[in-house]
C-alpha cells in the first residue's frame, strides 16, 4: 500500500515516496519481469508524480510568453531539470524498472519521433515555392487549401515552412493580413496534418503504438474535411471583407511578374521514400532484438535508418540557395530534440497511471471522461495549452485503460467491421486524434509551428495578435463554433 500524502511540500517528498513505491515494484519484478513491473507501477503511483510532466509542459507554455530571453537561452536546462527531477529518484531507488522505462520510451517513442521530424523537416526545407502571387481572396484560399493537404504528407511544420513565405509574399501589399496568417495557423499548421501519421506528431506517436498508418486517413477524413471546409468558407468571407477595404492593392507590375514554380521538387520523391519506409515498418514483421527487456523491431530500425539516409540525400542534393530561401536552420529541430527528451521522460508516470485505468490514481478522471465527445474536448482543450503530442499519448493510454486493451490489440480493435473491432475504442481514438490535432490551433502554444509561423509573419511586417488577442479575435469566434458543430455532427 502506498503511504498517504502528508503536509510536507510535495517536491520534498518525491524521493522518499519513490523509494517506497519502487521497493514495491521490485518485488513485482521478481515475479513478473520488467515489463510487468513497469505496468504495475501505474497502479500504485500517486497523481503528484506527474508534477514534473506538468512542470515541463507549463514551462513550454508560459516561459516564451513571460521570460522569453531566459527561455531562449536555457530551455534545454529547464527540460533537463524536470526530467532529472523524475528520473534521478526513479533510478536511485529502482534502477532496473527506471532503466527499463526510460529505455523503453527512448527507443520506442523518442528516437523514432525525433528521426521522423528531422527527416520531414530536412526534406521539406529543400522545397521552395517561387513566383509572383497576388493575395486576392481566391489566391489566398487556394494557397491555404494546398497547404492543408500538403500538411498530411510533409508534416505541419514542413508545410508551414514551405507555404508561409509564398502566402506572405502574395499579401505583401495588403494592409490587413493578420487574419490570413491566423487561418494559415488553423489550417496548414494544425488541422491539415490530421490525415496521416506524418502530418502531426501525435498521430505518429499513435502509429508507434500500433495504430495502422491509414487508419487516421479513413478514420478522421470526414471530421477533417468538414472542419477544413467550414474554416475555408469563413476565411473567404473574412478575406473578402478585408479585401474590399483595400484601396490601393495594386496589380503585379509586368517587370515583377514571375511564373509560379516549385523548386527542389526531387524532395517530393524523398518524401515518398519516407512514406514507403513507414508503411513497410507497419506491415512487415522482421523480428526484434532485445535491449534490456525492450523489444526493438528490425523493421523499425530499418525505417529510421532509411529516413536518416533520405534526409542526408536531401541535404546533399538540394542547393544551398533553396534552403536559404526557406531560412532553413537546425534551430527548430534542436528545440524539439531537447524539449521532447524531457517530455518523454516525465510523461512516464502519467502514462503508467492512465494505462492502469480505473485501478490507477487518476480513476476519477478516467471515469469522468466517458463519451467520444468528452475525449474530443478533453484532449482538445489540453492540446490547446500543452503540446498536443504528449496530450495525445496520455489520452490514448487512458482510452486503452478504459476498454482494458493492450497495445498489441490495437490494430485488431481498430479494424472496423470485423469480429475483433472495438467500436468504443474506435470512437474514443477518433475523438482523441481529432481533438489533439485540431485544437492545437486554439492557441499559439498548442503546436510547434504556430509560434514559428507567428514569428516569421511578424518579421515580415504582419501585425500578429498577442497570445490572448489570437484567442479572442480568432480561435474563440471561429474555431470553437466550428468544433461545437463538429461535436454535434460526429461525436
Amino acid at each position: 500500500m502506498y503511504p498517504k500524502q502528508h503536509s510536507l511540500p510535495i517536491l520534498m517528498t518525491l524521493p522518499a515516496a519513490l523509494f517506497l513505491l519502487f521497493a514495491e515494484s521490485t518485488s513485482c519484478l521478481a515475479s513478473g519481469g520488467l515489463h510487468e513491473a513497469a505496468d504495475h507501477v501505474g497502479r500504485i503511483l500517486p497523481v503528484w508524480t506527474v508534477l514534473p510532466f506538468a512542470g515541463i509542459l507549463l514551462s513550454i507554455a508560459l516561459c516564451p510568453l513571460f521570460v522569453p530571453h531566459f527561455w531562449h537561452n536555457h530551455f534545454g536546462k529547464v527540460s533537463a531539470f524536470w526530467a532529472l527531477l523524475f528520473a534521478l529518484p526513479f533510478l536511485i531507488f529502482d534502477w532496473q524498472v527506471a532503466l527499463y522505462s526510460i529505455l523503453h520510451i527512448g527507443l520506442i517513442d523518442y528516437i523514432p519521433f525525433i528521426i521522423l521530424l528531422w527527416g520531414l523537416f530536412t526534406i521539406s526545407g529543400g522545397i521552395v515555392v517561387k513566383g509572383s502571387l497576388r493575395g486576392t481572396p481566391l489566391v489566398n484560399a487556394t494557397l491555404l487549401l494546398i497547404g492543408t493537404f500538403l500538411a498530411s504528407w510533409v508534416g505541419t511544420t514542413g508545410a508551414a515552412m514551405i507555404m508561409i513565405r509564398p502566402v506572405l509574399r502574395a499579401n505583401r501589399d495588403r494592409v490587413h493580413k493578420a487574419h490570413v496568417i491566423c487561418f494559415f495557423i488553423f489550417l496548414v499548421a494544425n488541422i491539415g496534418g490530421s490525415l496521416t501519421p506524418l502530418g502531426d506528431p501525435p498521430l505518429f506517436l499513435g502509429f508507434l503504438h500500433n495504430v495502422p498508418f491509414f487508419w487516421v486517413t479513413k478514420g478522421i477524413l470526414p471530421e477533417m474535411l468538414a472542419t477544413a471546409a467550414l474554416l475555408l468558407v469563413l476565411f473567404v468571407a473574412v478575406d473578402i471583407y478585408y479585401f474590399r477595404k483595400e484601396k490601393e492593392f495594386r496589380e503585379i507590375a509586368s517587370e515583377e511578374r514571375a511564373p509560379v514554380l516549385i523548386a527542389g521538387t526531387y524532395n517530393f520523391l524523398l518524401l515518398a521514400g519516407v512514406v514507403t519506409a513507414i508503411l513497410v515498418s507497419g506491415y512487415w514483421k522482421a523480428g526484434h532484438l532485445t535491449i534490456y527487456s525492450v523489444e526493438v523491431h528490425y523493421q523499425n530500425l530499418l525505417r529510421d535508418a532509411v529516413i536518416v539516409i533520405l534526409g542526408l540525400v536531401s541535404l546533399r542534393i538540394t542547393p544551398k540557395e533553396l534552403r536559404s530561401a526557406n531560412e532553413f536552420s537546425w534551430g527548430p529541430i534542436l528545440e524539439v530534440a531537447k524539449l521532447f527528451a524531457g517530455i518523454f521522460i516525465t510523461i512516464i508516470p502519467a502514462l503508467a497511471i492512465l494505462r492502469a485505468g480505473l485501478d490507477g490514481a487518476m480513476a476519477p478522471l478516467v471515469a469522468a471522461v466517458q463519451t467520444p465527445a468528452h475525449y474530443f474536448w478533453a484532449s482538445g482543450v489540453l492540446s490547446s495549452f500543452l503540446d498536443n503530442a504528449p496530450t495525445y499519448l496520455t489520452f490514448f493510454n487512458m482510452a486503452l485503460g478504459k476498454v482494458s486493451l493492450v497495445e498489441a490489440q490495437v490494430p485488431a480493435a481498430l479494424a472496423a467491421g470485423t469480429a475483433t473491432a472495438n467500436p468504443a475504442f474506435i470512437g474514443y481514438l477518433t475523438a482523441i486524434s481529432a481533438g489533439a490535432v485540431f485544437m492545437g490551433a486554439n492557441t499559439y502554444i498548442g503546436n510547434a509551428p504556430n509560434f514559428m509561423v507567428k514569428s516569421i509573419a511578424e518579421e515580415a511586417g504582419v501585425d500578429m495578435p498577442s497570445f490572448f488577442g489570437y484567442m479572442f479575435k480568432y480561435s474563440i469566434p471561429f474555431l470553437i463554433p466550428v468544433f461545437i458543430l463538429v461535436t454535434f455532427i460526429f461525436f
Binding site: 513550454i60 516564451p64 522569453p68 530571453h69 527561455w71 531562449h72 537561452n73 530551455f75 511544420t157 515552412m161 494592409v175 490587413h176 493580413k177 493578420a178 484601396k247 490601393e248 531560412e327 532553413f328 536552420s329 534551430g331 527548430p332 528545440e335 524539439v336 524539449l339 510547434a448 509551428p449 509560434f451 514559428m452 507567428k454 514569428s455 516569421i456 511578424e458 518579421e459 515580415a460 511586417g461 504582419v462 501585425d463
Partner: protein, 196 residues
C-alpha cells in the same frame, strides 16, 4: 501659402452625398481637393449613435472637407437641389489643420526602414512630435527560425504625434495607414474661428 479648408457636415445618405460631390466636380470640371470623412475615420459612430440611427432616431451624417471656393459652390448646389435630394447641410466650419497620434511596434527591418523614411523627413508644413527617434533593438540571439523559443532579431517601437496642414497631414495619415503594424489614433481637426 496653404489653401483654406472647410469642414462641411451633411445629414443624409453618405453614398448619395459622395456620388453627388464627385458628379458635381466632374460635371463642372473642378479639380479641387475633397476629403471624405469615412476615409479618415472622421465619421465614426459610437455604438449608441449607431443604434439610434438604426432605430430611425438619428440621421446619417457625413463629413466632407473642401477648399474654400468649392465650399460655397457645393453649398449652393445642394441648396438648389434640396427638394429632390434628401441632403441637408448642417454645419460649415473652417479647418486650420489636423493632428493624429500613432504607435509602432514592428519586428520587420523592411517596415522599420520604410517608416524611418516616412517620419524622418515629413512633408513641408507637417510636424512630427517628438522628432523621430525610435527605440530599436538588435538581438543577435533572435536570428533564425525557431518554434518553441522564438525571439526577434530586430524590434522597433515608437509613439508620436503628427500635426500640420490639412492636405499633407491627410496624405501622411493615408500612407502610414498602409502599414498594418502602425496603430493610428483618431484624426482630429483644428478648427478656425469661422463658422458659417
Amino acid at each position: 501659402m496653404n489653401p483654406t479648408y472647410f469642414e462641411v457636415t451633411v445629414e443624409g445618405s453618405h453614398d448619395l452625398l459622395k456620388g453627388f460631390v464627385i458628379g458635381f466636380l466632374e460635371g463642372r470640371g473642378i479639380s479641387g481637393e475633397t476629403f471624405f470623412g469615412d476615409e479618415y475615420e472622421l465619421d465614426e459612430e459610437n455604438p449608441l449613435q449607431l443604434l439610434f440611427r438604426m432605430m430611425g432616431n438619428r440621421e446619417e451624417s457625413t463629413t466632407v472637407i473642401v477648399e474654400a471656393e468649392l465650399r460655397s459652390q457645393l453649398r449652393e448646389a445642394l441648396q438648389r437641389r434640396k427638394d429632390s435630394l434628401p441632403l441637408k447641410v448642417v454645419s460649415v466650419r473652417e479647418v486650420m489643420g489636423a493632428t493624429f497620434g500613432f504607435s509602432v511596434k514592428t519586428y520587420s527591418r523592411e517596415v522599420g526602414r520604410s517608416l524611418r523614411d516616412l517620419f524622418s523627413s515629413p512633408p513641408e508644413g507637417v510636424a512630427v512630435e517628438p522628432p523621430f527617434s525610435p527605440e530599436e533593438k538588435i538581438d543577435p540571439d533572435g536570428k533564425g527560425v525557431e518554434a518553441y523559443a522564438p525571439l526577434h532579431e530586430y524590434e522597433m517601437r515608437w509613439k508620436g504625434r503628427v500635426s500640420g496642414a490639412i492636405r499633407e497631414t491627410f496624405a501622411l495619415y493615408h500612407k502610414v495607414g498602409r502599414f498594418e503594424v502602425v496603430k493610428l489614433g483618431d484624426l482630429h481637426l483644428d478648427y478656425g474661428e469661422r463658422i458659417l
